[in-house]
């Protein structure tokens, strides 16, 4: 079972306590943006086979949204960090790089 550490309340939460929220760090496009940008923001997901940054909510715990770095090809968890980070936290990036030396980095 997937276990993620909640960076807010400090609990190692099991999957059944968590609600998945999809890809993290999306750049928002709203009214006034081009159709292409809006479509990409709404639908065009990276969906990588490998390192993935994503949103989770500690739904049956403290209720807060947080972020996680995970490998979709192995289910390995690299770490979690607070949702206030507009891009992956440097500590997380270092943790991923240590385990995936060939990884291209977050784009």
């Amino acid at each position: 079972m997937l276990i993620l550490h909640c960076p807010y309340c400090g609990v190692d939460a099991e999957e059944s306590e968590l609600a998945p929220g999809g890809e993290a760090h999306l750049k928002r496009f709203g009214p006034g943006s081009s159709d292409e940008d809006f479509e990409a923001y709404m639908f065009a997901r990276k969906n990588p086979k490998g390192v993935h940054f994503e949103r989770w909510r500690h739904a049956y715990g403290c209720g807060k949204w947080f972020l996680a770095a995970r490998c979709t090809a192995t289910l390995e968890v690299f770490g979690t960090y607070k949702a206030q980070n507009p891009r992956p936290h440097p500590d997380i990036v270092a943790a991923v790089k240590a385990k995936r030396p060939g990884w291209e980095g977050w784009k």
């Binding site: 997937l2 059944s16 609600a19 159709d35 709404m42 639908f43 969906n47 979709t72 289910l75």
Partner: protein, 417 residues
């Protein structure tokens, strides 16, 4: 070229000569340097695409490239439910085309796909579902698809082991499609593969596509673990790996890959001779010819390429089905497995041109694309052959996401198997 037909006479002939004369169902050639069309992915959809390209459009210089073994993806992992009782008109059209092709697919392919139109029930276990399914029955009647609304008593007649009284989820009726049912999943892949091979097409297994070559915005070939292969047109039909292939060609898709699981019980004597779907509790069940109860549930909620799902889904689905089918409570579950399904936001598939000229995608069938294999292959072959979608594929283009013209089956279907 050519293949020996399977028949009663062939069985008798081989019986008299120690079965020495059976040939391989398909050949395993080395790739040529160039093909008119390369189809990536030898699942049901890829193989059916190739088959109808040859059969309907006369395009036979075709290769189907598969990284594993043919039919080893979702096609060989699904619970084989076939139905066409969808809500929206474009869905009804393509799923019913598929269902009707299934009716005589065994004859067409000269390969027994064991299509079993045993009847399919979608239980209404809440007031909301009851209204939804009654609406679907009306829609289906307008679309020319034979479905009917049946009462709880009729449900009980068809499925005596079903507890219609609840207590938690009483059965209020069901959406019934008499000609829905199941087929043998492997046989569908094998039958199409044999048909492709007989037309002289190359099915190349154990060959992973690792790159897509383009020149001036047009596809010219692919890189594979067996070297570079040129092509005039490329069809990507790789289900859960669609985003990976699209990335090789430099575009993104509105797809997320997630695990979906199924499991079977120990074999028992015949207990249920229809397919029952209980979407409110995310569970469905049928009985295989071996006697196993075949059970499936909902997808995991997070991106996953591992073909392994989360344990709690198995537990939740089985628990819910035990309420509806009390007699299964003591059965042991024998095997469990997962596949990686390609989910779109509107739970409808994508058959489309792409930003790269002469690359076409067929994906997004998600949790429910076994039933659609023949219709999807038919429509995809037309799209690839002509370069433009025909009527069956027309509404399923990528452009619908830009224009907000969704074909919403997520609300209509609950779970979409």
């Amino acid at each position: 070229m050519g293949m020996r037909r399977y028949s009663m006479f062939a069985v008798a002939r081989e019986a008299l000569r120690f079965h020495a004369g059976w040939e391989r169902a398909w050949k395993s050639p080395e790739p040529k340097s160039h093909y008119d069309v390369i189809v990536v992915g030898a699942g049901g959809h890829g193989l059916a695409t190739a088959y109808y390209l040859g059969k309907v459009h006369g395009i036979r210089n075709v290769a189907v490239i598969e990284k594993g073994w043919l039919g080893g993806g979702n096609t060989g992992r699904n619970t084989t439910i076939i139905r066409s009782n969808y809500l929206q008109d474009p869905s009804a059209a393509i799923y019913e085309k598929a269902r009707s092709l299934y009716e005589d697919l065994s004859q067409d392919l000269n390969y027994n796909v064991m299509f079993s139109p045993r009847g399919l029930l979608m239980l209404a276990q809440s007031e909301h579902e009851r209204r939804g399914y009654q609406r679907t029955v009306y829609a289906n009647n307008l679309q020319g698809i034979e479905t009917e609304w049946i009462t709880p008593q009729k449900v009980k007649e068809l499925v005596p082991i079903l507890n219609i009284e609840g207590p938690r989820y009483p059965v209020l009726g069901a959406l019934y499609q008499e000609r829905g049912g199941t087929a043998r999943h492997d046989a569908v892949a094998w039958g199409y593969a044999r048909g492709c091979s007989a037309m002289g097409m190359d099915i190349i297994q154990q060959c992973e596509v690792t790159g897509v070559r383009t020149e001036g915005g047009k596809v010219v070939g692919i890189d594979t673990t067996k070297g570079a292969i040129g092509c005039s047109k490329l069809a990507m039909v790789v289900a859960g790996h669609s985003s990976v292939l699209a990335e090789m060609a430099g575009f993104r898709l509105p797809i997320e890959s997630m695990a979906l699981q199924a499991w079977v019980s120990e074999p028992i004597k015949p207990a249920i001779d229809v397919v029952v779907m209980a979407n409110l509790v995310h569970g469905y069940m049928s009985q295989s010819d071996k006697g196993e109860l075949v059970i499936g549930g909902g997808t995991d909620g997070f991106n996953n390429y591992t073909q392994r799902g989360s344990w709690h889904h198995v537990e939740e689905t089985t628990r819910a089905l035990v309420e509806t089918f009390p007699i299964i409570s003591r059965l042991k579950m024998l095997r469990q497995w997962g596949g990686i399904v390609d989910m779109t936001g509107d739970r409808s598939p994508i058959l489309s041109k792409t930003p790269v000229e002469n690359i076409f995608v067929n994906c997004g069938w998600g949790t429910g694309g076994f039933k659609s294999i023949p219709g999807s292959g038919w429509a995809m072959a037309e799209l690839v052959a002509k370069g433009e979608p025909g009527p069956l594929a027309a509404e399923f283009g990528l452009i619908r996401f830009r224009e907000g013209r969704f074909i919403d089956e997520s609300v209509a279907a609950g779970v979409a198997h």
